[in-house]
């Protein structure tokens, strides 16, 4: 790369970050390498490709990959690139390729597990310098946790579970909401795009300072105008921000949910009582009656796993896809609870679209703010973005997580600390 090396130690400071991190295309290119090619990246959920041959097309940064289940039900993450002269071998975003993939250009065919199975006129190659077994689709390492699949182009000895770390109990909190102990992401997905940097959404999803301001209109619809939001987000409130390490973080509503029931998710009341009873009985069968109240009290967690996975109430996974320094796509997947009554899952699906997505009552306001952020970053007089709230008052807890009040920037600082580690690590990928 031309020019001086980018000094991330200087750009990412303990209590402020430099605007250049959001607008310099050279930084985006380095992120695609140091983060999206050397780190676990969320690509999808096992249930999306539940049947033999099912596939979805995804990305590791800008690199196109196919998540596919082969005829023996094994999962693979394959580069969507013909090994011959480079051609996407899969043209649609989802489907079934039990019969394999075929490149339209010269007819090379691959099995769902990626082996090169045939090519026209193979006589044109000499067996001394061409063996079919060497030209399968490039395979990417995958690991999964509770069905959530992450890919890593260069794992270098780092396991997914080590990266997920303290966020793992939150994935358990999710699957424990399902009577079968499994979730399903097979209710379609919403796709949203914005003209701003990808990191803004990662910061925003862990920001509990903005909701009472930016989302007040949506919240009032859920709770009525008289609801005192300070009792959740304010100095007397029960919500907390939690830096889970490794760039992962949480807005912890558990204490609030235990106190006030389902909080603004409002699952109570909207769902037929007999369905709720059947749901509770299903949970009790797996977890025991003792734990049902706790699981329902905690409800859907609100957290993120660096660099591109978010989970939000009312049961939604978000996959963040960076496209360029100032363009980002977000995919939103409703999370259905396996073996829950259909009424519960219907309501989760409906709320997912109603709250988030391009026509939701919440997400569009966030999106508009990111674009306003990106525009304002052109003002170059004071280029620092300050992340100082709660710096002196946050507390480290026994499990190693760092906890701040809802309105403090504990989680953003955690995200950037991990970012700086990744962007400054050496060529061997050691951090």
């Amino acid at each position: 790369m031309a020019g001086a090396a980018i000094d991330y130690q200087d750009l990412v400071r303990r209590d402020q970050v430099h605007a250049r991190l959001y607008y310099d295309p050279a930084i985006f290119e380095e992120e695609m390498d140091k983060i999206f090619s050397h780190h676990w990246v969320y690509v999808g959920h096992e249930s999306e490709v539940a049947e033999p041959g099912e596939f979805v097309c995804r990305w590791l940064g800008l690199q196109p990959v196919i998540l596919v289940r082969d005829r023996k039900r094994q999962l693979h993450l394959l580069m969507n690139r013909c090994r011959h002269r480079s051609n996407t071998i899969c043209q649609v975003e989802r489907g079934n390729a039990a019969g394999g993939f075929r490149c339209a250009y010269h007819g090379w065919t691959y099995s769902p597990s990626g082996e090169l199975t045939g090519l026209p006129y193979s006589v044109g190659y000499d067996s001394r310098d061409f063996r079919k077994e060497d030209y399968g689709l490039i395979r990417v390492t995958i690991e999964s946790c509770h069905g959530f699949i992450f890919g890593n182009l260069n794992p270098g000895g780092h396991s997914l579970l080590a990266q997920i770390g303290a966020a793992r109990p939150l994935l358990e909190q999710v699957i424990n909401l399902a009577p079968a102990g499994e979730v399903m992401l097979r209710a379609g997905l919403l796709k949203h795009k914005y003209r701003a940097n990808w990191k803004m959404t990662m910061e925003n999803v862990l920001d509990a300072y903005h909701p009472p301001v930016l989302h007040q209109t949506a919240f009032h619809l859920g709770t009525g105008k008289s609801f005192n939001w300070d009792s959740v987000y304010g100095p007397e409130g029960n919500a907390r921000t939690r830096d889970l390490g490794n760039g992962n973080g949480q807005i912890d509503f558990n204490a609030q949910n235990r106190k006030s029931g389902f909080f603004f998710q409002g699952l109570k009341g909207d769902i037929d009582e007999s369905a709720q009873r059947a749901y509770h009985a299903g949970l009790a069968k797996r977890l025991g009656q003792e734990r049902v109240a706790q699981v329902l009290g905690d409800s859907d967690p609100h957290f993120s796993i660096f660099p591109n996975f978010n989970y939000l109430p009312p049961g939604q996974v978000r996959l963040i896809r960076p496209v360029s320094i100032d363009e980002t796509h977000i995919y939103y997947f409703p999370v259905m609870l396996k073996d829950a009554p259909i009424e519960i899952n219907r309501e989760r699906i409906r709320r997912s679209g109603y709250m988030h997505g391009p026509a939701g009552l919440v997400a569009p306001d966030d999106i508009d703010v990111y674009e306003r952020n990106q525009e304002a970053l052109k003002a170059r007089q004071d280029e620092w973005v300050i992340l100082r709230r709660g710096l002196r008052t946050e507390q480290r807890e026994e499990d190693g997580s760092i906890v701040g009040m809802a309105y403090e920037e504990t989680t953003q600082r955690g995200l950037w600390r991990h970012y700086r580690q990744l962007m400054t690590r050496d060529a061997n990928g050691a951090i």
Partner: protein, 156 residues
Amino acid sequence: MGDFREVEQFIYREARLMDEHRYDDWLALWTDDATYWVPCGRDDGDPELQVSIIYDRYPQLVNRLQRLKTGKAFAEDPPSRLCRVISNIEMEDAAAGEIVARSSFVLGDLRKHQEVHWFGRTLHRLRKTDGELRIAYKKVILLNNDEPLPNLAFLI
């Protein structure tokens, strides 16, 4: 057979109310048992089992408009400038005295110097209530409903 001219004028008027962000006047066009559906990722399917861009029953539609009217729905502050052209209107009688109207639209959406062009097909199911046409069901099939969309915080 419903009166084609009346149906056509109704659809044009609805388009103008949406273009002008006249939320209350637009809401008054709907029956109180109405369904408003903008499918996602496909043109059809079951909106109870697949997520939708919009899938509102009347109460959700009322909430959606109530939020927009506060002036604090920031995705519409400032509001989009909208201009839509409706064409290809076809009409047929449906069960229970209702009328099905199919149409296509092109919509220009200009906000903060960014112009977005939307294309789609609309299916209205209209019902005469107290002598006036009302929307009992509206489905909007966006051309790009399986693509990442910019904000769609105005009326479509």
